[in-house]
Symmetry: C2
Subunit: 491 residues, 2 copies
């Protein structure tokens, strides 16, 4: 195992170094550094890929003599990583990277000028290459399986599809009810509570204080500014977040901080024995998102949370929140309003935005929808599910960058994260029955301890589905999330 561990340590170090370079790129790098930085990151990523797919890895894997369960997991999962990494021929990698380069520019132009046909041929090419990619990776039922598996290992398209169908059946009428029910907690708060003047420094400190209360360890992490918030890991003992502050709107900065801190606490909680191995990482994007969304929504958008923090919030923002009660704040941060843009969507409608994309991605790959018909397919679903229709493609099918980056199979993980977070939050409640009392008292240690024990510590040793089965007694299901939103949004 020693040789394998050493070899993997080198690969992991290189990947973490690349992550440092990317973090700097988004936080501090002067504009002039862009071109050389892109080359440096590419050099490191290529090097790590070459090392992972080298004969040395093969030899080290064959020579490894696992003695513990962890050793077994390491050999098993690294073998799978190598297989995935070697299956995609470098010509295809290059073709995809070239197509993405062109598609990204075309998408930007198409969105700016609101002309889908500028983007259409590029999307067509991305879909073709994604199919090639899926064929190279291999799949059981349908090509989409292979793409989903990149981000959500062992999750099957048919299971996602069935879960989403169950969710949609409940959610579409419920969203309609809430939107029409003037007395729903999602409708009754004056929206201008969270709009107003929230000074930069006060937002920064308040968000970070709550993240620290949650258990985000700032001796092993830090917060910086960036245009798009993210979290990133350089080691289990150095996991950072970034935040973007909007002085006129409380939500993006505050809930963004809680969200990214949720991601970061996941990685800070991984078993230190996995350090410098590829297993010291979140097990899937969905499970990662479940952690960020739980702290952001189930905790941060709960009434007990605001009962605890409202005095501090009033002190931090005496101008904007002087007369606001916990109940009012709770309603304000949970306001529901069907809207066109995913990144601005509220907690209740967000999953519908994702499910729409999932359906269309799957249809594109299966050839069930022509690229040219995509805008109307998009708009029809928006209208039927959310009751609103985009006036332009820029606020419809062209709103997201993901497809131009070739990232098909990525979107569903956002909704999977929401569903998983509700499953885990219910399971936690069984083990920690006083959970909401703890939240009301600002005691988050019992929550974090439960997540550590059941989710974080495993790193990639257990898949998302295995974690769900071990904690909730079932794989992915929509019911807990539906119960959660129904309880929250029914007046």
């Amino acid at each position: 195992m020693h040789e394998l561990r050493n070899h993997l340590a080198r690969i992991t170090d290189i990947n973490h170094a690349a992550a440092v370079l990317e973090w700097d790129q988004e936080t501090y790098m002067p504009e002039g550094g862009a071109a050389s930085r892109a080359r440096q990151v590419a050099t490191l990523r290529t090097l790590a890929h070459e090392l992972l797919t080298s004969r040395e890895t093969e030899r080290a894997l064959d020579a490894a003599r696992p003695e513990t369960d962890m050793d077994d997991d390491l050999v098993r999962i690294v073998r799978r990583d190598v297989k995935k990494a070697t299956r995609v021929p470098s010509e295809l990698v290059n073709a995809m990277s070239e197509a993405q380069g062109h598609a990204k520019g075309a998408w930007q132009k198409a969105r700016a000028t609101n002309t889908f046909r500028t983007f259409a041929p590029h999307l067509e090419r991305i879909v073709d290459l994604s199919l090639e990619h899926a064929e190279a990776l291999g799949y059981e039922d349908e090509p989409y399986d292979a793409l989903l598996d990149i981000h959500e290992p062992d999750m099957k398209t048919r299971d996602v599809s069935a879960t989403f169908a169950a969710l949609k059946k409940e959610l579409v009428p419920f969203v309609r009810d809430v939107a029409q029910d003037a007395a729903s907690p999602g409708k009754t708060a004056p929206i201008d509570i969270v709009h107003g003047h929230f000074p930069h420094q006060a937002q920064w400190e308040f968000g970070l204080r709550v993240a620290r209360d949650f258990g985000y360890d700032l001796t092993r992490g830090r917060q910086d500014h960036s245009a798009h918030p993210f979290s990133t890991t350089f080691s289990i003992d150095d996991v950072r977040i970034t935040t973007r502050i909007d002085e006129s709107f409380f939500n993006p900065g505050f809930f963004g901080t809680l969200h990214e801190a949720g991601h970061a606490m996941y990685e800070q909680g991984i078993d230190p024995a996995l350090e410098r191995t590829p297993l010291a990482d979140g097990t899937s994007l969905g499970m990662h998102e479940s952690q960020s969304r739980m702290w952001e929504n189930q905790v941060g958008r709960s009434l007990p949370f605001w009962e605890h923090y409202m005095p501090a919030a009033r002190e931090a923002f005496p101008g904007a929140l002087a007369d606001v009660s916990a109940e009012m704040m709770y309603r304000a941060v949970n306001r529901v309003e069907p809207s066109l843009i995913r990144v601005e969507a509220d907690e209740l409608t967000y999953n519908l935005h994702i499910m729409l994309r999932f359906e269309l991605e799957r249809a594109m790959l299966a050839g069930d929808v022509a690229i040219g018909d995509l805008p109307s397919a998009w708009n029809d679903r928006m209208e039927s599910w959310l009751g609103i229709r985009p006036g332009t493609d820029a606020e419809g099918v062209l709103q997201d960058i993901h497809w131009s980056l070739g990232a098909l199979g990525y979107f569903p993980t956002y909704a999977l994260g929401n569903l998983m977070s509700a499953q885990l939050f219910e399971a936690m409640h069984r083990d920690v029955p006083d959970r909401d009392v703890h939240i009301r008292n600002g005691e988050f240690a019992p929550i974090l301890a439960w997540l550590r024990r059941n989710v974080h510590v495993w790193g990639r040793r257990r898949s998302a589905v295995e974690i769900l089965e071990a904690t909730c007694g079932t794989g992915l299901v929509a019911a807990p999330w539906i119960r959660y939103v129904k309880a929250k949004y029914t007046s």
Copy 2:
């Protein structure tokens, strides 16, 4: 050349990535990240070393068909780098790194408890290994040549020694005169002009403003805080500095910023055609120091400089500098006072601190001084040259970290930098006769342009001595620096 260029680009990228990681370590890294960061840097540096000394480099060098002078220089200098890198056996590298690990701890303890004998055996070991290192590298006249050559390629110990001897002969009596002459510009300023309250943010902005005026391009650089100021290069288009601010003392922050900006402008001025090669670097530590010291001292501590900036300085520091004239400020920042600690030494006495270390290093390597006699050898020189004697070894032979890091042959480059800066500043004056008028007008472009053309653009293509010969018509000499300080410090 194409294959060689690609191969070197990869090595350069890895080294620059390591530099980013080291920069982050000193500026933003949370304390918890220290252990894994050290391993990551080691992984990258080892990787770069392995690639440089690999057969691939040999093959690429042999296959290269140089077509330009630059190609010739690249092949020649990389061959030399490879030779140096391969000559030191890895057992010796490991032994040195282990000895340094122990020595650093012992030095810290020795300095804290003021017991040289705690450090002595470690220094003995460092000297032995340095001799082995010198033998492995090879040399012409004496082992010190090999160590000096690491930092100052092509510079010979005998030349340094002769130059230092000439310098000492003039400098020791001159320092005595200045220290006794109450009317000397180095003695007449009340020292409390630069001590007082200089608010952090005002210092930060004022220093950066002057650095920008000098020509430090902040679209290709930036300034951050660190405990020990430094400059670092991630590419020709991303060269950064750090500064440490002391609110009660103007000099460290301000002149530190000018100093580091001088280093940074050197690297920003390298020919872009050298990007991603090992030649995109300063040609020697001495030449690098000549750039930082010139901007810090010849420019930043000149009377014309303060005639230009005094109104802005008064505005930036209305509390501390309201009634201070340019002439007074000029005197305050040039105050001379023989002192025991090198890093606090003034411009005039600094070189004596260096020459003392050079003599002792050379004597240790030659076996001319027993390690046990080092403290008295140190103290005797201090007394005879500067007229003051350390009361403890902590303020004598134990004050610097360098020897515990195994860095023998490094110290002289500080003084070489001072001498070179004066040589270059005189040569520049011949080409830019209005130099001081430009400084008085805050016009630094003619100065920077001259340095770019004659020094920066070459990167490592020309050695320090070659640059001096081309610009000054002579190799290293002390006379220009002596003329400079005599003009400055004679009333």
